[in-house]
């Protein structure tokens, strides 16, 4: 039997709105396979996003889905999770949404170690608004607001999240959907805040301006640099800078999860009442 994606999809909404070859579709697929792996029921899953191409994902997923305001998905998700700690809450958004305007909610959700999985489709650009540079656009790359090449150093999202206290941090890339799905599954499974960056392609807005207008060009450019963490660690500094590690980058299983802590307080107060 072929894998049945449609349990988790709103079939009538397809084909989706994304450009031919856009990596977001690959991410969506990997999410579905991870849901299926864990046998999560659609009714028990909330998927929350901000604004952007990536943030249109929830609309295609058969789940409790919420397309919020730009950058604020984590805060809505926090409210959902606090009120229903028994449910699975996943955030998916773009690099701009997550790390530009949404950076604060992202790092605070990580700090609290609240049991959300935050997936960032990092295509190094503001796709939806027409290709302005994002906090992850490489130095020198062209963008709508970087006509002379981007002048701003970029975030290493994984480092940022580790610094913020996230207890599960992984990186996948669009060239390897199978690994992506596995990392999603591990992140979903992790009790606490999990963050998975997917290095992705926006050939339309990033690629077109940077000689990679074809999706496969970009996907290959990404795949060529993606290096398993162990191997990457053994590289010299120059090679490290040219490549990026993929896989589980950080995993701390011993930190208390926030809604657990809170509900323990409720239980304690109930007892003492």
């Amino acid at each position: 039997m072929a894998f049945d994606y449609f349990k988790y999809l709103r079939k009538e909404k397809l084909p989706h709105m994304w450009c031919p070859g856009c990596g977001i579709g690959i991410v969506l697929k990997a999410m579905i396979r991870a849901f299926d792996d864990l046998q999560w029921e659609p009714a028990d899953i909330a998927v929350v996003s901000g604004i952007g191409c990536t943030s249109r994902s929830p609309g295609y997923l058969n789940a409790n889905t919420l397309h919020t305001t730009h950058g604020r998905a984590a805060s809505f998700a926090t409210g959902i999770k606090m009120h229903r700690p028994d449910k699975h809450v996943v955030v998916i958004s773009g690099d701009g949404d997550a790390s530009a305007i949404g950076g604060n909610h992202l790092i605070h959700a990580a700090r609290r170690n609240i049991d959300l999985t935050y997936i960032v489709n990092n295509n190094n650009i503001y796709g939806m608004t027409g290709g302005q540079y994002s906090p992850t656009t490489p130095l020198g790359a062209k963008a709508a607001t970087a006509p002379y090449g981007n002048l701003e150093p970029s975030f290493n999202l994984a480092s940022l999240l580790i610094g913020a206290g996230a207890t599960y941090v992984a990186r996948a890339h669009v060239g390897n959907g199978r690994q992506m799905s596995k990392l999603f599954r591990d992140g979903f499974n992790h009790k606490g805040f999990s963050f998975i960056e997917v290095v992705s392609n926006c050939h339309t807005q990033f690629g077109r301006r940077n000689r990679m207008a074809d999706p496969m060009n970009m996907i290959k450019w990404i795949g060529d640099r993606a290096t398993p963490l162990k191997k990457w660690e053994s590289m010299n500094e120059d090679d490290k800078a040219m490549n990026f590690p993929v896989g589980v980058l950080h995993h701390d299983k011993n930190q208390p999860e926030y809604t657990d802590t809170y509900d323990a307080l409720i239980a304690k107060l109930k007892q003492s009442a």
Partner: protein, 92 residues
């Protein structure tokens, strides 16, 4: 709508079925490029999207590696592998 190559096929040797959904397929070329055995191809004119559509070029070559399916951004290609092999691959 495809001229030469089919959108659906089952290999005789391995019994692998590949199916391309012509409504979903946006002709992005990703599946063609990722296929390690060159079993797929693009065909011009016909897609509602940009004039291309994925087609099966050589069903017998298919190893059932699932790469095309996993990498297709559009839920447009599915690969069914008859035996346990597929399950094992998916679980990896």
């Amino acid at each position: 709508m495809s001229d030469q190559y089919p959108l659906k096929g089952t290999s005789k040797r391995k019994g692998i079925t590949i199916e391309i959904d012509e409504v979903m397929c946006k002709g992005c070329n990703v599946c063609v490029e990722v296929c390690p055995v060159d079993a797929l191809d693009m065909e011009g004119i016909g897609s509602r999207w940009q004039g291309y559509l994925a087609v099966i070029k050589d069903i017998e070559a298919c190893t059932g590696c699932l790469l095309c399916e996993l990498q297709c951004p559009d839920f447009a290609i599915s690969v069914t592998v008859p035996d346990k092999k597929k399950k094992a691959a998916a679980a990896k």
